[in-house]
C-alpha cells in the first residue's frame, strides 16, 4: 500500500510551525501547500522572486508576470513581496528560510542527496536545489521509497551526481518517516498505515536504525 503523493505532502505539512518561511520544490513538495494545519501560518518563498505565494489563479486571471519556480501561474497573498533572484538567494543562503522541502532521486544514509542529473540521460540542471540544500538548516525530502524499477532510493552512497552533501535531515516517503543521523544512518520514526517494518527494511538499501516501537503515521 503506502501513501499517495498527496498523503506524503499531508504528512510533511505536519512538520510546519507557525511563522515559518518555507520553500517548496517542484512535484510532491508543491502539494504541501494544500495541507497547512489549522492555526499554522506559514509564508511560501519561491526562489524566482516571491514571498507570500498564494494558490493558483482562477481561470482567466492568470498573469504571465506572476509565476513560481516551476513556471506555473500563481497568485500573491496579502503581504506578499517581489524581489530579484539575488535577494531571493540571499534569503536562502542566509538561512532566513526555515524549511526546504524537495524531491530526490537518491538519498544516502549520511544525508547526501542526488536530484539533478542522470549522466548521459537527463540533464535538466540543478536550478536552485544546490543553493537550497547547501544552506537550509532544515531540509525534508519528499519522495517514493523506491524507484520505478523497485530499487531503493535510500542508499549507503548515492550513485548519481550529488546535489549536496550531508544536508538532508528528514525523509518522508510513501512508506515511512525517517530521520538522517549521519553517524548511524536512516532512523525510522514512523510507518505508513499498514506498512510493516520488514517491508521498510527490505526496501531500504542504506543503514536503517529501528529502535523501540515504531508508530503508524497519523494523517
Amino acid at each position: 500500500m503506502g501513501l499517495s503523493k498527496d498523503q506524503i505532502a499531508q504528512r510533511i505539512a505536519q512538520e510546519l510551525s507557525d511563522g515559518w518561511y518555507v520553500n517548496l520544490g517542484i512535484g510532491i513538495p508543491t502539494l504541501v501547500a494544500n495541507h497547512i494545519p489549522q492555526g499554522v501560518n506559514v509564508e511560501f518563498q519561491s526562489e524566482n522572486g516571491i514571498l507570500g505565494m498564494g494558490p493558483f489563479p482562477f481561470e482567466g486571471e492568470e498573469d504571465a508576470d506572476l509565476i513560481n519556480a516551476g513556471k506555473q501561474t500563481i497568485t500573491a497573498m496579502p503581504g506578499a513581496s517581489f524581489f530579484s533572484s539575488e535577494l531571493s538567494f540571499a534569503m536562502i543562503r542566509g538561512q532566513h528560510v526555515q524549511l526546504t522541502v524537495l524531491g530526490a532521486m537518491e538519498v544516502s544514509d549520511n544525508g547526501d542527496i542526488a536530484n539533478w542529473k542522470i549522466p548521459g540521460r537527463m540533464v535538466k540542471g540543478m536550478g536552485g536545489a544546490m543553493d537550497l540544500v547547501a544552506s537550509a538548516e532544515n531540509i525534508i525530502v519528499a519522495m517514493q521509497h523506491t524507484n520505478r524499477a523497485g530499487e531503493s532510493k535510500l542508499l549507503t552512497n548515492c550513485s548519481l551526481p550529488l546535489t549536496g552533501v550531508q544536508c538532508v535531515k528528514k525523509i518522508v516517503t510513501d512508506l515511512a518517516v525517517l530521520e538522517v543521523d549521519p553517524e548511524r544512518g536512516f532512523v525510522l520514526l514512523e510507518r505508513a498505515p499498514g506498512v510493516t517494518i520488514d517491508e521498510i527494511r527490505s526496501k531500504t538499501a542504506g543503514r536503517l536504525v529501528v529502535e523501540g516501537n515504531i508508530p503508524e503515521m497519523q494523517l
Binding site: 493558483f56 489563479p57 504571465a64 509565476i67 531571493s88 543562503r93 536550478g127 536552485g128
Partner: protein, 239 residues
C-alpha cells in the same frame, strides 16, 4: 565603462540597440523561464544573425520561444544556465555535442551577475560544495562549513526587460518578471533595456525604482509582447 550620454540612451528599437554586437560575444539575458525575458532583443538578435553566442541566462527558453529561437538557428555556441529542462532542441544539441553547456546553481548564477556589476571579483558560497560544480574550484572552510570560491561574470552585453522605464534608464519591474533582470542590468558593460512603457524623465517615483539609470546604457519602447505562459495552472472558480 563607456561614457554613455544619459540624454541619448533612448534608441528607436531593438535593432538599433544592437550596435556593436558581434559574433562570439558573451551576452546575458534576463528572465526566468519565459517570464520577464527580453522578447524584442532576442528577435532582433535572431534577425541580425549574430553567431557564436555565449549565453548567460537562467533558462534556455522553450523550443519555439525565448532563447529557444536562437538555439534553433544555431546562433548559440555555449549556454551558461541553472536549468534547461523545458527544451528538447537544447537537449538534442547538448547530447550531440553541438552545444557547450555549463550548469551553475541558480543562486551562484545570480550572485555572479551581481558581483560583476558590483565590482566584487570573487566570493565564497556553500552551494555546490561536494558536487561536480566544485571541481577545480578553491575550497575554504568558514565557521566550520566548507565553501567554494566563485568568480564574477563578464558580459559585454546584457539584455533585460522591464515593466516601466524612463529615458534616463531608470527601471521598474513587475511581479516575478523581475528575477534576473536587475543583476544582469548591473553586470552588462552595455546594458540594453526594453520596456513595456517608456516614460519621460521625472515620471517614475524615485523611491520605487528597482534599477537606477546608471546601470542602463540603451533603452527602448518594446513592441508586440507575447508574454507567453509556460505552465498555465488555474483552479476552478468553485474552490
Amino acid at each position: 565603462m563607456s561614457t554613455t550620454k544619459y540624454i541619448s540612451k533612448v534608441v528607436p528599437d531593438a535593432t538599433a540597440a544592437l550596435e556593436g554586437l558581434e559574433d562570439n560575444m558573451t551576452m546575458m539575458f534576463g528572465g526566468f523561464g519565459l517570464c520577464g525575458i527580453p522578447e524584442n532583443s532576442i528577435s532582433a538578435i535572431r534577425e541580425k544573425g549574430t553567431t557564436g553566442i555565449t549565453c548567460i541566462s537562467n533558462n534556455a527558453g522553450i523550443d519555439d520561444f525565448g532563447l529557444g529561437l536562437l538555439l534553433h538557428t544555431r546562433q548559440i555556441k555555449k549556454m551558461i544556465a541553472s536549468y534547461v529542462g523545458e527544451n528538447d532542441e537544447f537537449e538534442r544539441q547538448m547530447l550531440s555535442g553541438e552545444l557547450e553547456v555549463e550548469l551553475i546553481p541558480q543562486g551562484t548564477l545570480a550572485e555572479r551577475c551581481r558581483a560583476a556589476g558590483a565590482g566584487v571579483p570573487a566570493f565564497y558560497t556553500p552551494a555546490g560544495y561536494g558536487t561536480e560544480v566544485a571541481k577545480g574550484k578553491e575550497m575554504r572552510v568558514f565557521n566550520g562549513k566548507p565553501h567554494i570560491l566563485e568568480h564574477a561574470f563578464e558580459a559585454p552585453f546584457a539584455f533585460v526587460k522591464a515593466w516601466k522605464g524612463d529615458k534616463a534608464g531608470n527601471l521598474i519591474f513587475k511581479g516575478t518578471a523581475r528575477n534576473f533582470n536587475p543583476m544582469m542590468a548591473m553586470a552588462g558593460k552595455i546594458t540594453v533595456a526594453e520596456v513595456e512603457e517608456l516614460v519621460e524623465v521625472g515620471q517614475l517615483e524615485p523611491n520605487s525604482i528597482h534599477i537606477p539609470g546608471i546601470f542602463v546604457q540603451r533603452i527602448f519602447q518594446g513592441v508586440d509582447y507575447e508574454k507567453r505562459i509556460e505552465q498555465r495552472t488555474v483552479r476552478a472558480k468553485s474552490e
